[in-house]
Amino acid sequence: MSRLAPKKPSLCSDGPLTDGEVCQKLSVFREILKSCYGPCGRLKLIHNNRGGRVQTTSSSAVLLNGVPLSHPMLKLLAASVMNHVSRFSDSGLFAAILGCTLIENTQRLNMASSSVIKIYRQLLSLSIAYLNSEDCSCRVKVDFRSSQTLLALARTVIASKPACMLTFKEREYISSMVLKAFLRTVPCTVGPNACLGKMVVVPIEGNIAQDTTVLTGLLVEMPEALPLSNTKRLSSSCINVAVFNVSMSGDLPDAADGTVEISCTVSPEAAILEQLLRVGKQMVSEHVGLLVCQKVVHPVLKQYLQEQHVIVVDRLGAALMEPLVQMTGAQAVASYQSSVPSNCYGLLKDVCVVSFGSKELLHLIPGEDSTVCSLVLCNRNETTLSELKCTNRIDDVLSDLACSYTEYQLAVDSFCRSLESLARSLEHNGGESLVDLSHGHRWFIQASSPLDSHWRDLVNRCGCGLFQKHQSLDWAILGDKYPSLTPGADRSQIEETTPHLFVLDSFPAKINALQIAVETANLILDLKYIIQDVN
């Protein structure tokens, strides 16, 4: 029985930022994000109070995904940060915290939002211009002759996730494996349309982190029966591969909204199976050694192919289709009703079985210069593993890199106070943050330092590791009033040694995060009305 309910009118509320409750929500949200920031950030336990899985995290991707927000304004902020994270997989917290802080600081200014927005826009372009300029004091050129800079970048990302529960050695190892996997995806020959290959992360729960490894090619679930020893081969070094992205489970094609009337004497299941077996026969006659299907393969077809020494891998999933197609050169076949064109087949060098702990996987080995690789990522349990998975992308760093915890090109108080408070939120244990007056980098001092000592005696190296303390440096407390400074590009003081201890962030990710934060804040500041459909 259906029931008709009258539609409720939409709800319109004006000036969302003048509502005290909304502002408090925003500030709680900001505090939650802020306490997660940096390598010493505090973790959050997310659970549903119904005995579901518990997530322990300090990463923006998990936090914003796992937490349903109630107010449209927060949803908007979260959505734009999530969009940034999906592109760069980095600096999500930076963008979210800066966005929140900008909104809150502007509220206190008591200025017309339109003019503030204009100033912010200008400041943003100034900042970006400065960061892109040659005399930016917090940029590090990537030295592609050595892996140190890239390694430092990978290490920074992994170290910023304390919920991974990795020791120093494990962190180093995982960083090097991530870098190794990344380098595998760089093509050997640079042509006009060279592009990066694919890195597929295979998470294995229960093994220790040191079991993490990188393999060329793809890893897929083990088929139940495996005619490995007598697989059909084209020659000694190649296996013909057919790839299907259509379900071969024997389902009838969907008849949309209509109904199909079939006589009882006709079995549609048998008819479909006949078609499937016809394709199977073609596979055998054209010497296909491996059939991969994105979805399910009918057991009868499977049995037939296995009897003919063809390996069948089904339930591959959509995520692995693209790398598989790229790796083998096959074309995914979307129909089995007609015969498969011969140019659709791809090639593999070999297949073998690899095992990790108690789990066995089938390893598809591609030809020589393939840029597809698998990163087998191991960690002790699900919580720590899923946190580790978030950290695994450093694709977008090929252009330029910058250390950008420390951007103090100040023009408007509100703007710079937001950035300052962001930088300060790296400290979670009551320590103090300093800024030096020649480079504008951030320095730590611990919480219980004696009051009568000089800054110089308390600091050693700046937060990112680029500068060491020296005589000509002066410091001020970050967030206090201090004389304006022009961070110079005085590179003479940067150490020439390999930057293995540097804390580095991806330059494009940070630039984009800055942009996202300011633009989203501007958008929210510009909000006059919220119209909600409450049906």
Binding site: F168, K169, R171, E261, Q303, H428, V503
Partner: protein, 705 residues
């Protein structure tokens, strides 16, 4: 705990609690939860009843993972601990009690650190570095199982020598000892396992015997090392001892193997290792030893040239639980033991000593079953053109077709992974076809390997190629030779050709004990499996924890922070180095107190000490003795075995050797510390779905977003 809230609206949504303000609530919860598992520690456990007050149901539990599984864990921290424990159980099948205990002890230690005002990053850095360093040290103390085997060999040799050289008085003692040994061996080679009540007697006797052996061995070891003789794996001919001669003859008959003495010695050494790994659970371990022996015998039978190490395959063991039969009847049987109906059992009896043709079905054997991923179409209408007057249903038709297929292929036995259609089962019995349901995947896999059958999803897929041969069916009989019947089900045993699949039949007349007994069996099986795979074990009975305590004491005594990579750690800890040395001693001391508490609880549980205080005093005395003139690393293996200090937990157990698994132990420590440090670094709990009522109730404790 500070509680904040400012929402008046009753929307289900997301609230957050602040966990850490002043006292860390999460760590307190962890400590409180872990307390529940204290009595499971050590060889003498006390079991627990978990009651559900709403429906008066109760569960009996002996192990931490079952305890957590049965609890209704509402807190996020409890859930996190449960996830950690279950993940450990999934991978290792043992060691969860240590994990849970240390998680509790270390969270108490961390709470104390917080109380003393130590910053969180310092606690995290020192604790994880301390454990890493300790683990590295402990791994150096692991004993290769070959040494244990060698030791047992030596014991036998020494005893034989003693027999020929000692004075008559001694001879009687030693004779008594070797008689016992012989008795013990017979009990092992016999394919039956005696009951728990009688077992406890035999174990006591064994203990006595092994104790003697240990003394003899230590003598042997010291004389050997003083003369500089290398302890090689020499095979000692036992020509002077009639006991050992007779035993050889005995086992020859039983094992029917030409590699007799080697195989025989291997069995002996496994027994010693297994008893050491049983941790007081002799019921389970005796079944495991029996399973091992059956599998080893089988692999030897199959391949005479095979001289590789011990073959033990946990994947080829299944359990069958038979309630209502007394515990004495528990045993290990080759093949797959399962329960069938009385009619089927009669058929099984009829099949006795026949080679059967077998097929394997991967899913359910019913008309409605479709393979996974097949959805069918909802918008298809079947139109009947002429009315069907035969009155047979779709299911009858299907059953008829299935029977025809089975008959045409002359199949005698169908092994189904899921359920089978009752109508088909009944008709099949009439046509001399036995259908066995609920075969586990590893059972089907073994039958596929040993009979040559190919598993299929549908009965229509069957062809000559899929049918396997050489399977046998018999009624499972108890030790007294009677068949068993409970609730109209009879146990039968299905075997493949030369299969190493064995079934541990677990029986008890007390039904609520069965689950615990099955768990115990699997724990023992996996302990032995880990030991054989890793080829090393730790000295058990608290000896390893004592070494840890001593090692941590050494770390504290060292002035500078040299342990682990604290200096190279990430830059945020650069500023910490001064702090670390300041707080290092306190944190490490508190951490080692966690192990001390573990030992003390072990001693209290095994009634060695009546109070924790007494236990702590004994441990501290031992530590004092150990430190006198003993240089720390490296502690060599013989030194460990010779250790002269009085060893707390093993005193009462007649000096019998006790062993622990290496990776299991180390991983349990690591996971325990991981969960503690995770909770420590957590400051907020975010709950994603409160219902409106809960929001009302908790409005003072929640912030709604």
């Amino acid at each position: 705990m500070e509680k904040i809230s400012y929402s008046r609206r009753k929307i289900p949504g997301f609230g957050c609690k602040v966990l850490y303000k002043g006292r860390h609530v999460g760590l307190q919860q962890l400590t409180a939860l872990a307390q529940a598992g204290r009595t499971f520690l050590g060889p003498t456990k006390s079991c627990k009843f978990i009651m559900d007050q709403s429906c008066c149901e109760a569960a009996l539990t002996y192990s931490s993972f079952r305890l957590l599984e049965n609890l209704d864990l509402s807190s996020a921290v409890g859930q996190l601990l449960n996830e950690t424990v279950q993940a450990h159980q999934k991978v290792f099948n043992t060691g969860t009690t240590s994990l849970m205990f240390l998680a509790g002890a270390w969270s108490a230690a961390v709470l104390e650190c917080l109380h003393q005002g130590i910053p969180i990053p310092v606690i995290v850095a020192v604790m994880s570095a301390g454990l890493e360093s300790c683990t590295e040290f402990c791994k150096g103390c692991a004993v290769p199982i070959e040494d244990i085997a060698r030791k047992t060999d030596c014991d036998l040799g020494k005893q034989a020598q003693a027999c020929s050289t000692m004075s008559p008085n001694h001879l009687i003692d030693v004779q008594k000892c070797s008689c016992l040994q012989q008795g013990q061996l017979q009990s092992i080679t016999r394919s039956t396992i005696s009951a728990v009540s009688t077992l406890s007697q035999t174990t006591a006797v064994k203990d006595e015997c092994l104790g003697l052996q240990l003394k003899v061995f230590t003598q042997a070891l010291s004389t050997r090392s003083s003369s500089g003789e290398k302890t090689t794996k020499t095979k000692i001919k036992l020509t002077h001892s009639r006991h050992f001669n007779s035993k050889d003859a005995n086992s020859e008959r039983l094992l029917s193997s030409n590699s007799l003495s080697a195989g025989h010695h291997r069995d002996v050494s496994i027994t010693h290792l297994a008893v050491g790994l049983s941790h007081g659970c002799s019921y389970g371990m005796n079944l495991v030893i029996e399973a091992y022996r059956l599998q080893a015998q089988n692999s030897r039978k199959r391949d005479y040239s095979l001289r590789t190490g011990p073959s033990f395959d946990v994947c080829k063991i299944v359990t069958c639980v038979l309630p209502g039969i007394c515990e004495e009847q528990s045993c290990v049987t080759p093949g797959f033991v399962t329960l069938v109906s009385i009619e089927q059992a009669t058929l099984a009896n009829h099949f006795k000593d026949q080679n059967l043709r077998v097929v394997l079905i991967n899913g359910d054997l019913s008309e409605r079953y479709r393979h996974l991923g097949f959805n069918g179409s909802s918008n298809i209408k079947n139109i009947i053109e002429s009315p069907d007057l035969s009155g047979s249903s779709l299911e009858d038709e299907w059953a008829h077709d299935a029977l025809t297929a089975l008959l045409s292929l002359k199949v005698n036995l169908v092994l189904v992974m899921g359920m089978a259609c009752p109508i088909l089962m009944e008709t099949c019995v009439k046509h001399n076809i036995l259908i066995v349901q609920w075969g586990k995947p590893n059972v089907l896999k073994d039958f596929a390997e040993t009979t040559g059958a190919v598993p299929v999803a549908y009965i229509t897929q069957l062809n000559e190629y899929c049918v396997g041969g050489g399977a046998c069916v018999s009624l499972w009989r108890t030790l007294g030779g009677t068949t068993t019947e409970s609730a109209n089900r009879v146990a039968i045993c299905v075997t493949g050709n030369a299969s190493s699949l064995v079934t541990a039949v677990i029986t008890s007349s007390v039904i609520c004990k069965l689950q615990a007994m099955e768990d115990q069996f699997w724990t023992c099986a996996h302990r032995l499996n880990h030991a054989l795979k890793e080829k090393t074990v730790f000295p058990g009975a608290g000896r390893l924890e004592m070494l840890c305590l001593r090692y941590i004491q050494k770390l504290i005594e060292e002035d500078h922070v040299t342990f682990c990579n604290l200096d190279d750690d990430n830059t945020s800890s650069l500023w910490m180095t001064k702090h670390v040395s300041h707080y290092k001693d306190i944190i490490l001391q508190l951490m080692s107190d966690g192990w001390k508490e573990y030992l003390a609880t072990l001693m209290c549980n095994s009634t060695m000490c009546t109070t924790q205080l007494e236990a702590w005093t004994v441990i501290n005395q031992c530590l004092g003795n150990m430190c006198d003139g003993v240089s720390l690393p490296p502690v060599s293996t013989p030194h460990l075995l010779n250790c002269s200090y009085s060893e707390p937990a093993s005193e009462k157990r007649g000096n019998m050797d006790v062993y622990d698994n290496v990776t299991v132990k180390v991983e349990a420590w690591r996971r325990a510390l991981d969960v503690v440090l995770l909770v420590l670094q957590t400051d907020t709990e975010i709950v994603t779905c409160y219902s409106a009522g809960e929001v009302e109730e908790l409005s003072s404790a929640l912030v709604l977003l």
